[in-house]
Symmetry: C2
């Protein structure tokens, strides 16, 4: 299971590294998440410089794609070069957006008729793009999922793991990252959030 975590200049560290770190917990089972960027390195919204692990073209061949968030997403979502490079296929790939990443999903036409989750700052821009925005942290329709609020990235990751591996794997990964002394409650809550979206795929 190869996963592209799309990460652009100005990226929000939590929105890229939380899903990537959770997926990479399953490396012993053959999963691998890659920071995937249009340039050899990208600089976060807080000035952290990270080397890309894959070029943008990798997204087209990945099994799953997470579109990260950041302070430049509105511009990225109108960049014809980026949109053309992505070549995502929801018939074959599981595709999710974190916070403002939903603007890229919308620009690619992947949220047509699909209500979506995003962060409070992005909400008006996503609505302007014609997308109905939910007051919930996570939603999925078929192979397309959206999450809103940095820490909702764990729901997005858990849903992908539950879909593409198993609910037991999702529980294991959530258990690992959860705070000590709160692990069972934390896992149960996250699984409750994603369970409505684990029906017939």
């Amino acid at each position: 299971m190869q996963i592209a975590v799309l990460t652009f200049d100005g990226f929000n560290e939590l929105d890229s590294f939380m899903p990537a770190a959770l997926f990479n917990r399953l490396r012993p089972k053959g999963w691998q998440a890659h920071i995937t960027s249009p340039t050899a390195s990208v600089t976060s919204m807080n000035g952290v410089v990270v080397q890309a692990q894959q070029p943008l073209a990798f997204a087209a061949t990945a099994d799953a794609v997470v579109i990260g968030s950041g302070i430049n997403t509105r511009a990225i979502a109108t960049d014809p070069a980026v949109l053309a490079a992505l070549r995502l296929d929801p018939g074959r790939q599981v595709i999710a957006s974190q916070c403002s990443g939903a603007l890229v999903l919308a620009a690619l036409g992947l949220l047509a008729g699909v209500p979506a989750c995003t962060d409070l700052t992005t909400r008006p821009w996503l609505e302007q793009a014609g997308v109905a925005v939910l007051d919930t942290p996570f939603a999925a329709h078929g192979n397309i999922a959206t999450a809103g609020g940095c820490l909702a990235a764990q729901y997005l990751a858990a849903w992908m793991i539950a879909r593409l591996a198993s609910v037991a794997d999702a529980r294991d990964v959530l258990h690992y990252v959860a705070p000590v002394g709160e692990k069972q409650a934390h896992v149960d809550h996250a699984i409750n959030v994603i369970t409505p979206f684990l029906g017939a795929a």
Copy 2:
């Protein structure tokens, strides 16, 4: 408020980037968190290469220090060069460890007689170092704090913000990162976790 987030080769991305990202929400108020490393770049436990924003010597002059976690911390905690370079001063600095970072705190003698939090994997090693380990996600004694479980990094960050700025600022930062639709409950829970440690400083 200048904060060193100590980040070594083999680092856990969540344990460094979650506190750093939360502190950097207060940039408009003059806060700045820096990925602080012994080398010009460090590679995470999942192969992500990140450029250091500050050298290890920065830790001695920072207002606050977070010791991150990773797969090499046991070796780092016995590296005389690293321990000598840190020169932390709990009389002047607020100092916290995330997960296995507690091994470095212990090696520096900063957990003498202080029960601590850490992750489940590190627990036996920290106990072997003579530290009593708690079954809770966060604890603080004076200027020394410890957190266990990746997502407990938000408690560590919120406590530092509450201590060095205000509880209102901690609430604002937690609210920003919390999942949409769960923000109030999320903030209230985190503040409840840290409140017992916000007494007379």
